[in-house]
Symmetry: C2
Subunit: 307 residues, 2 copies
């Protein structure tokens, strides 16, 4: 298996789980290796845009995990051309090499939060129209379509996972990757939380361990198609803050700001088909997930302080 | 009004119709001016990718017609990256300039034949899922999504026309733009017609005059949204050939070839909403359209021979 973006938030958790079961895993990542020293891991430093490096990384591989994104929903609108020229164009290069090397399976992380746009009904099932209102979502839709097109023309089978908002250990506080991580960091360091809008926006949050268990099932099964991946429940920003307050015992300071035009009001995913097809279910509700995340952060902070 | 691609097949017919009603029209086109000398036409030679030229062309404009494509459905799959880097990236440049110059209306020609992919039901209405299986269709979907996204974020209103297979005077025999033009040219010059598959593929064909009458309505009305534009009727390739034979009185020689994977079996558009909203209907059925096209070709051939 080749994990593109294996050093990122989802990637590092996936690599950990795969290596725990002694799977042979390659990671292609632009930076130097900061992953633990797993015996079955081969780490390749390089860019997905470098055809030669990518070609070598693909040798001997049967399944590719695509977990890379150079943008976030909020950064993407500032420069849609860069969004297109990195994420979309690099995907074509990957698919062309997979076709050439006859690699027949790709697992792609799409975006359950942006591809649908403002929901016409809720919870959002997989057949809901795709009306993205940020470049990140437009590009994810185009990426999904190219993956399916290559599937149709060149027998590359795919599992497209439209993932809601994942959170947990490994998520960066610096890149604005997720509100739970951002809020936890700010509450614990006594910083003010910035909230776009009045805090009523509802999102579907999934704990990283639950997402990884589905990724593992997707990599070992013969089930293909496009699936929603979330908890199936929605929580407002205010509920997220009060949940973190109750788990940590700390009080948040909140700064409410003008809502952003590209934020939709509510996203809750219908995950029933995903549950049925993969015999999968989430093991953590919101409070359980935040609790485990908080405990892991405490352990890692303590070990950093004692080292 | 600025017509991007105003020297092409649809463009030259649109410019003719607009100038006939004395509308002030600008055309931006990469080649030298071959359009007739209309008094209300300003012709600008240059590329849409040249921001300075495009910016000047947009000055004083209230409505933009986007009729440009650097690819065709069959050429697009050979180089999806080029498809993306010309059609999609240039559109972003245009939308950014429209936003900057507060130009609030765009009329965009999308593709009724490729955005839906293999139909799940027929005739295809505007809410049919978008499952394109060629790069041309994937890129058109992404272009539609960016236009709607800029609409949502920056008040650029749009009319997106998902046009079926247009045919008529001005269509090039060289670029593989349409089967009716290709077949008429080959029948009249005694060449063999190449047919991909067994000739049972069904498409929706619209005569250029009918398409132009809708474009004019779209430019003068305050109706916005996404619309199917076709005749609402489907004809097989074999029916097209026999219709041309009956109009021209000539006999076709046909070479049947292996079907192409990116060709869908049948596309017939449901145009009822377009008819209602724009109080528009087609004036030419297939035989009437081919007849008028044939007559116009004879006139133009005669005038070429006598000049």
């Amino acid at each position: 298996m080749l994990i593109l973006g294996g050093a990122g938030f989802i990637g590092s958790n996936l690599v950990k789980a795969l290596c725990a079961s002694n799977a042979n895993v390659k990671v292609l990542n632009h930076g130097p290796n900061k992953l633990p020293d797993y015996p079955t891991l081969e780490y390749i430093q390089g860019s997905i845009s470098d055809k030669e490096v990518l070609g070598k990384a693909l040798d001997g591989v049967t399944t590719v995990f695509h977990l890379i994104s150079s943008t976030t929903p909020s950064s993407s609108n500032k420069d849609p051309v860069a969004d297109i020229e990195t994420n979309l164009v690099n995907l074509i290069g990957l698919l062309d090499l997979m076709k050439e090397k006859r690699i027949s399976k790709i697992i792609f992380i799409s975006s359950g939060g942006t591809v649908y746009g403002e929901p016409l009904y809720t919870p959002i099932d997989i057949n809901h129209p795709l009306n993205p209102i940020c470049s990140y979502g437009v590009v994810k839709v185009a990426m999904e379509n190219y993956i399916k097109m290559y599937g149709h023309l060149y027998n590359i089978q795919s599992v497209i996972l439209r993932v809601a908002n994942p959170y947990g250990t490994g998520q960066s506080t610096l890149k604005g990757q997720g509100v739970i991580t951002d809020f936890m960091y700010k509450i614990q360091t006594n910083r003010t939380i910035d909230v776009w809008g009045d805090g009523s926006s509802i999102r579907d949050y999934i704990f990283i361990d639950d997402l990884i268990s589905l990724c593992i099932k997707a990599s070992t099964s013969d089930i293909y198609g496009t699936f929603n991946v979330g908890s199936g429940s929605g929580y407002s920003v205010k509920q997220i803050i009060s949940s973190i307050e109750s788990v940590t015992g700390l009080k948040a300071t909140i700064n409410y700001m003008k809502p952003r035009l590209f934020d939709v009001k509510s996203v809750v995913l219908d995950i029933s088909e995903t549950q049925d097809k993969f015999s999968w279910s989430t093991q953590y509700n919101l409070i359980q997930g935040i609790k485990k995340y908080h405990e892991e952060l405490l352990v890692s902070n303590n070990s950093e302080q004692s080292s």
